[in-house]
């Protein structure tokens, strides 16, 4: 028997969104991207037993029951234009696509139910395969997944690891095994390197003054997982009440955005002053591969929640946590993602 190594793991997932939570993506709606982390999106079967029930004459379980299914996973990747567009579209939830080949532009904002938007995020299917076919090791598809959150980390240094994205996702619990999906060819990804960063926060251009050291920004949907199980939400095997319940909806909860950065602190630096004055402004960060592949994220109104002096490699720096706030015209955050790939979240 040959040992199976994790490098054989291939993943693909919905580039286009599912029609609804229960309708899996087809192969042509998916794309294959590479990832950095070895973690698998293992389906978890939750069980209960009858240990607590009276009438057996003892306290030990005699039966076990399949009650519900969970699926969650994490994608760690070097940040590229394609995964950037995908994460913004699926993570924020509302997308307008414009442009034509080779420059598709995805303008993304959070869904606002108060203005008529859905509370359910767009759904996608996620496939993991190791030697699919006759000698299969793993071949399964999680159906009805949504993005729980994303984190973009930008650091100083020459390597690709200084521009990364982590995407967390959760699923309805529905799993198809074998997946029945023919793995599409790998998508050629365009890296958005740290060296391409443009960054202006609260009126200060941190790239032109050469002071930015690192930056992290994130979005979290706090998906209401338990709310997905409602009377009638369905079962792993339709019509089989013993096969374990699955979720019939995945709605976001109270969403949170974060932005924090470390910058060199010198005479004239304004971070501490702005912390005291609680002045507000936009925070705009962009990363670019070329004219057709880029990602720009705008926090529409931020103030500084904390600003603390410290050191990085012996140089005085200030570590700032921003407070993203609601702007009456533009909301809390928007993203403009450009890439060569058509049909993301469409």
């Amino acid at each position: 028997m040959s040992v199976t190594r994790m490098q054989e793991l291939q993943i693909c997932f919905g580039k286009q969104k599912q029609a609804d939570i229960g309708s899996a993506n087809t192969g042509v709606q998916m794309w294959q991207l590479r990832k950095l982390n070895a973690a698998l999106a293992n389906p978890k079967l939750n069980t209960e037993n009858d240990a607590e029930e009276f009438g057996k004459g003892h306290e030990f379980p005699t039966q076990s029951f399949q009650t519900s299914w969970d699926v969650n996973g994490t994608l760690e990747k070097y940040l590229g234009a394609e995964i950037g567009a995908w994460a913004m579209a699926y993570g924020l939830g509302k997308v307008v696509k414009s442009g034509t080949t080779p420059n598709f532009t995805y303008t993304c904002t959070p869904l606002i139910p108060a203005n008529g938007d859905a509370a359910e995020l767009p759904y996608f299917s996620f496939v993991e395969q190791i030697r699919p076919g006759a000698g299969v090791v793993a071949d399964r598809m999680a159906v009805g997944c949504v993005v729980e959150g994303w984190t973009i980390s930008i650091g100083s240094g020459p390597g690709r690891a200084n521009s990364k994205i982590t995407v967390e996702f959760v699923g309805s619990g529905k799993v198809t095994e074998p997946s029945g999906i023919t793995m599409p060819a790998a998508t050629l990804e365009k890296l958005l390197p740290s060296a391409s960063l443009a960054l202006t926060i609260n009126g200060v251009n941190y790239v032109s003054n050469k002071n930015i050291v690192s930056l992290e920004t994130s979005w979290k949907n706090n998906v209401r997982l338990d709310g997905g199980f409602y009377p009638g939400s369905g079962f792993q095997t339709p019509g089989d009440g013993a096969s374990g319940a699955i979720r019939g909806r995945l709605e976001f909860g109270n969403r949170q955005g974060t932005l924090k950065f470390v910058a060199r602190f010198e005479n004239g630096s304004t971070e501490l002053t702005k912390l005291k004055s609680q002045s507000t402004g936009t925070a705009v960060m962009s990363l670019t591969y070329d004219a057709n592949n880029s990602l720009e994220i705008t926090w529409q109104k931020v103030s500084f929640a904390t600003a603390e002096l410290g050191e990085t490699d012996g140089i005085v720096t200030v570590s700032v946590e921003c407070l993203p706030m609601w702007d009456v015209t533009n909301g809390v955050v928007s993203a403009v993602a450009k890439c060569n790939v058509d049909g993301i979240c469409q």
């Binding site: 307008v96 442009g99 303008t107 904002t109 203005n115 015209t329």
Partner: protein, 57 residues
Amino acid sequence: MTDTVHMRSPEGVVQEVEATPTTLVPLMLRGWQQCEPREEVTPDVRDADAGTSDLLR
């Protein structure tokens, strides 16, 4: 030339707007959704109901 998209308001009004963040983000925030261009409906002149018989002659 600036790219344009069609957007539909929560009330059903369809507008063609510039595909710039400055234009799109405030609309998206207020519940507008991207939509297909509205199809123009024009009467077929070969149809008997399209005009008077005199004009057709």
